[in-house]
Symmetry: C5
Subunit: 82 residues, 5 copies
């Protein structure tokens, strides 16, 4: 898993079928680089997140017979250090 910070929303009105309910979020990765991850948690700007990549991001959507075309999923928000 990678860690990063949500920095923006990404909108794609023209899209292929099969993308589930949720949001595309830009994530600035710890260590550098940016990616777009799918979010179903309602994650907000500036939140620190844990992102999973690859086919497991798609196979999480178990109600669907066909995995959606998603290759990065926010699986949680990282707790603040105490």
């Amino acid at each position: 898993m990678l860690r990063g910070t949500v920095t923006a929303s990404v909108w794609a009105t023209k899209r292929i079928d099969g993308i589930p309910g949720g949001a595309f979020l830009e994530v600035e990765l710890d260590g550098g680089g940016r990616m777009v991850a799918f979010d179903v948690l309602g994650t907000g700007m500036g939140e620190r997140v844990l992102v999973v990549q690859g086919s497991v991001a798609a196979s999480w959507f178990t109600a669907r017979q066909v995995p959606p075309p998603i290759d990065a999923l926010i699986i949680g928000s990282i707790d603040d250090p105490q």
Copy 2:
């Protein structure tokens, strides 16, 4: 997912079986680098796109019993910021 801009078409007349209808497009990635992604949306030159990588690109083609030999798929066009 990665973001980039479509910069060229790529043609491969001599090819293996099983490649679905669509186009190979060169995508210049945000942050640097180029890749070739498969397109079924009729995306044009200069369009900003969202690209999914890996086996989920192939498993999207659900009408096919065998996933096609495609490892990158344009899943949408990124909306212009307003």
Copy 3:
């Protein structure tokens, strides 16, 4: 597989469903870079580990019909050289 050293725990109270019992651990990779790997072995801080990446990390959880959203798993502790 990659090798690295466990350097911290990562906590994510707000998370999606389906994450199995275990811990998220920060691993500093040999050769540079950091990642978060899932641990079911009770690995401690400073332990040297072997990490597997990708869908095989998820499919190891065989009791589950749906593979968990995990893309990196600690598969063992590297023995000290003798």
Copy 4:
């Protein structure tokens, strides 16, 4: 998909079972780096090719119940620009 140029053959007489008929070819990637891709098209030295990576390279071999241990496949020769 990646683009590159075939630069050499790679021979491996001592090998595991399950590798299909075809050739291992060294491909010099556009943008730098080299990899070994599997070829079933009879691609020759110097040909420009399109390479797919990951599990889709293996699942293309549909006549086989078990996907072969192949993670990169030449899916076509890139046409010369006209």
Copy 5:
């Protein structure tokens, strides 16, 4: 596939279940970098090898209902140039 040279054995006595018979070997990759690959061929130190990565490394172990937690497999020894 990647090419490299076997440089060391890696031992992990404390490990998760499901790792098949074979050895973990350190491979120094052509072009730089090191990884740990699983070996079932009895490959020796200094041998030049071809390594496959990802889920196909695991799915090669066909006698197992559950693919083992292995993401890199030595599929052959590269023949010496003649």
